[in-house]
């Protein structure tokens, strides 16, 4: 600390500081930021870098019980890619992701636009209502939806039987349509969360642009398509990426809804569920690690695509603005 407090040498000073003092100050200046960063770097090293390295090593090993492992090269990855159950899990997870992104995000945007309309009363109340399911733990969400989708006593079947007299109250939603149940449960829980992102983005859309478009005769759809949507695209693509990552990691909800099983004909098996099954139920941590890396690679590709698309749309918007500017 004392080196920072030392007075700087003025140009043309008759008594220049000795070279050794200057070098020491430089050294301190270069070391000090690292000292400040050290706690964070240490945490990252211990809890991110080392586990990542460990997981990489583990994915090339076969484990079988405590203290037993052997190097198997890329055999775990070959096993994963030729494992029909992995592809079943991948397909299920993909369907869930598609359902979550394609249903949840448009709905979240719709609600955000509704709540962004001027003159709507009770906005705060509705925001709270729509956002509050996020505050409910996944375990409770699973319990609520487990009761709702019960065979004979569940509200869904009772309601449908009330509307359609021929409806079979014994219909097994969780056996036949587990992915639909998962998508609905996730929609209920996270729609409000995504709505808040869109709401923040919508509030940052310059009003002048919308007003100018209106004066130019643009209808609602054209204003949405050419003004609002481009303005919220960066936030939108970020929300899409977050949803994809979150959806690919789904585990707790199907695990709890299906009470630890993977459902009829593995319809509720997700990738992370399969990772758990192989790693923690069968004790093959190497194989589980290979599954984990496979998900990581898929998600990295998704993130890369998102960045490419975002960059593309930025360039395209930038080009349009430049061309528009030139026309003026």
């Amino acid at each position: 600390m004392s080196s920072l407090a030392a007075p700087a040498t003025l140009p043309g000073s008759s008594s220049p500081a000795p070279a050794s003092t200057s070098a020491s100050a430089d050294r301190s200046r270069s070391v000090f930021p690292w000292l400040l960063l050290a706690p964070f770097l240490l945490l990252v090293l211990v809890f991110t870098i080392v586990p990542l390295f460990g997981a990489t090593v583990l994915s090339t090993q076969q484990t079988f019980g405590p203290g037993t492992s052997r190097f198997v090269g890329l055999s775990n990855f070959r096993g994963v890619l030729s494992d029909p159950l992995f592809w079943t899990a991948f397909k299920n997870t993909f369907v869930f992701t598609l359902g979550s992104v394609c249903v949840q995000l448009p709905l979240a945007l719709c609600f955000a636009m509704l709540l962004n309309q001027p003159g709507i009363r009770g906005k705060t109340f509705f925001r709270l209502i729509l956002f509050s399911p996020v505050l409910v733990g996944v375990v409770y969400v699973a319990m609520i939806f487990f009761v709702l989708f019960q065979k004979r006593t569940g509200l869904i079947n009772q309601l449908l039987a009330g509307i359609l007299p021929s409806w079979d109250v014994g219909f097994a939603w969780l056996d036949q349509y587990i992915m639909l149940a998962l998508i609905l449960a996730t929609l209920w829980q996270y729609m409000g969360f995504n709505m808040v992102y869109f709401l923040a983005a919508l509030q940052n859309v310059p009003k002048e642009l919308n007003e100018a478009a209106k004066m130019d005769g643009a209808n609602w759809w054209k204003r949405f398509r050419h003004v609002t949507l481009p303005a919220i695209t960066p936030v939108g693509s970020f929300v899409v990426l977050l949803s994809i990552i979150g959806s690919f990691q789904v585990f707790e909800l199907p695990f709890l809804l299906l009470q630890g099983s993977t459902g009829v004909d593995n319809k509720g098996l997700t990738i992370v569920g399969y990772l758990y099954q192989t790693g923690f139920q069968s004790g093959d941590l190497g194989y589980a690690s290979a599954i984990g890396w496979t998900i990581a690679i898929v998600l990295a590709v998704c993130a890369g695509l998102q960045r490419l698309l975002s960059a593309g749309s930025e360039v395209s918007r930038g080009g349009k603005v430049a061309r528009g500017g030139g026309a003026k």
Binding site: P66, G170, S261
Partner: protein, 439 residues
């Protein structure tokens, strides 16, 4: 600050009833000990949490509790790998030295045995019977003594599926079993002479006995005239359906009696027990569901002292009686089976001598084997059952012969899939080769 040095013995259990039972015994044991290192501290830990702690300690080679009471599925995970990597201490020398094998029901050791070595002291036998709504059955004038096989069961009980005007009831089924209840499916496979794991720990899913059992289950649950339905054992909805008589009969290992006594006391005086109907005349009249062992981790210090505590808890007559009185669980110590306590009439089951009925079936309890591939084998078998149920629904099947070819096909696929995991396991392949070489 360094952690204080632990002197007493720590023990983990996952079941509240077990903890309630052991606490007074442990207090009495502790009072007798002059050496503080022989005092026992008991912790009740959730089953999942205990498994995670146990496996983390085993994988890291770190100490856990000194005594671990583990449920069958959890314990099986610790049996993966070569013998020297099993997290529990090999108790075979102690069991042989103290002549425990002669005192305890042989089948009760099987789930805790790997390659002929015993890693746990058995807590129970868990024979299974069928509990039925005697109030409904007797009111209909049905005589259950005529039931010997599952075919008899369906034939004799069938009138209960219909109203007086001949219309089929939608609010009553004969049996509580469904396609995703893998514990029950496994119990039925074992009763039928099948099972999913053999003595060497290898999946043996694809066989005639299993095909027959799963075909029957598919026919019962999903055929043209289903007789079975789902009534969850563990939630209020299921309890209400039980009270409503939605299913006439349900599977009842001994521990289930205690669960009903506590969770659905309204069933008291409405139910009776009967041995499971056999798959063939003269066949096995029981099966098994659940199981617990007491093990000593390999890292524990002073195994001899821990072995003495384990014996005190699991092999004492007094505790065996309390286990039955408070937990309805029959001890695996066969020398206590003649005790009068098991002949007491149980008012919950309309005065039946429940303990004696379970003990009479105990010697028939099928062997079952632990394997790290057990979870995979069961999961694949369950998939085969689901596929077969779909076929039964789609084809409106009326007899098991229609389903048998498909059952074999689905079981063969399940076997192939499970074996893919076994075959890619280099350690398992090594141990199998070693077993072939060693006579």
């Amino acid at each position: 600050m360094p952690a204080p040095k632990r002197e007493s013995v720590t023990m983990w259990t996952f079941a509240r009833m077990h903890a309630d039972l052991y606490r007074p015994e442990i207090e009495a044991w502790n009072d007798e000990q002059t050496d503080s290192s022989r005092r026992v501290e008991l912790s009740l830990i959730g089953v999942q949490a205990m498994e995670q702690r146990m496996m983390s300690a085993f994988l890291a080679g770190l100490p856990s509790a000194d005594l671990i009471e583990a449920e069958r599925r959890n314990a099986a995970r610790a049996f993966a790998g070569p013998l020297e990597s099993v997290g529990f201490l090999d108790l075979t020398p102690y069991v042989e030295r103290d002549g425990i094998m002669n005192r305890v029901n042989a089948a009760s050791f099987k789930p805790w045995t790997k390659d002929g070595r015993i890693f746990g002291l058995p807590h129970d036998v868990h024979p299974m019977m069928l509990a039925y709504r005697a109030d409904i059955v007797e009111a209909a004038g049905i005589d259950v003594s005529k039931i010997e096989t599952w075919d008899d069961f369906v034939r004799v009980m069938r009138p209960l599926l219909f109203k007086e005007n001949g219309e089929r009831r939608t609010d009553r089924y004969l049996l509580n079993i469904w396609e995703t209840q893998i514990d029950l499916i496994e119990a039925m496979l074992l009763q039928g002479g099948g099972g999913v794991i053999d003595a060497s720990g290898v999946p043996v899913i694809d066989n005639e006995a299993n095909a027959r059992v799963i075909s029957q289950i598919a026919l019962w649950t999903s055929g043209a005239e289903p007789i079975a339905a789902e009534v969850s054992f563990w939630d209020a909805t299921g309890h209400q359906l039980m009270r409503d008589g939605f299913v006439i009969a349900t599977f009842a290992p001994d521990w289930m009696c205690n669960y009903w006594r506590k969770e659905v006391p309204q069933l008291s005086g409405t139910m009776k027990l009967m041995p499971l109907p056999a798959w063939d005349k003269g066949g096995r009249r029981t099966s098994v569901w659940g199981g617990t062992m007491l093990g000593i981790p390999r890292t524990a210090k002073d195994p001899e002292k821990l072995w003495q505590i384990a014996k005190h808890l699991y092999l004492s007559r007094d505790l065996a009686h309390k286990l039955y009185e408070r937990g309805d669980i029959v001890t695996p110590v066969s020398e206590f089976w003649q005790d009068d306590i098991y002949d007491k009439p149980d008012p919950f089951f309309m005065g039946q001598p429940k303990g004696r009925m379970y003990i009479n079936l105990a010697p028939q309890v099928p062997d079952r084997f632990s394997s790290p591939f057990g979870a995979i084998a069961l999961a694949r078998t369950q998939s085969a059952v689901s596929q077969l149920c779909k076929v039964a629904r789609d084809t409106k099947a009326t007899n098991i012969d229609q389903l048998m070819p498909k059952a074999r096909e689905f079981l063969a696929a399940a076997q192939e899939d499970a074996m893919r995991h076994v075959n890619r396991n280099v350690f398992f392949a090594d141990s199998q080769k070693a077993a072939e070489v060693t006579p």
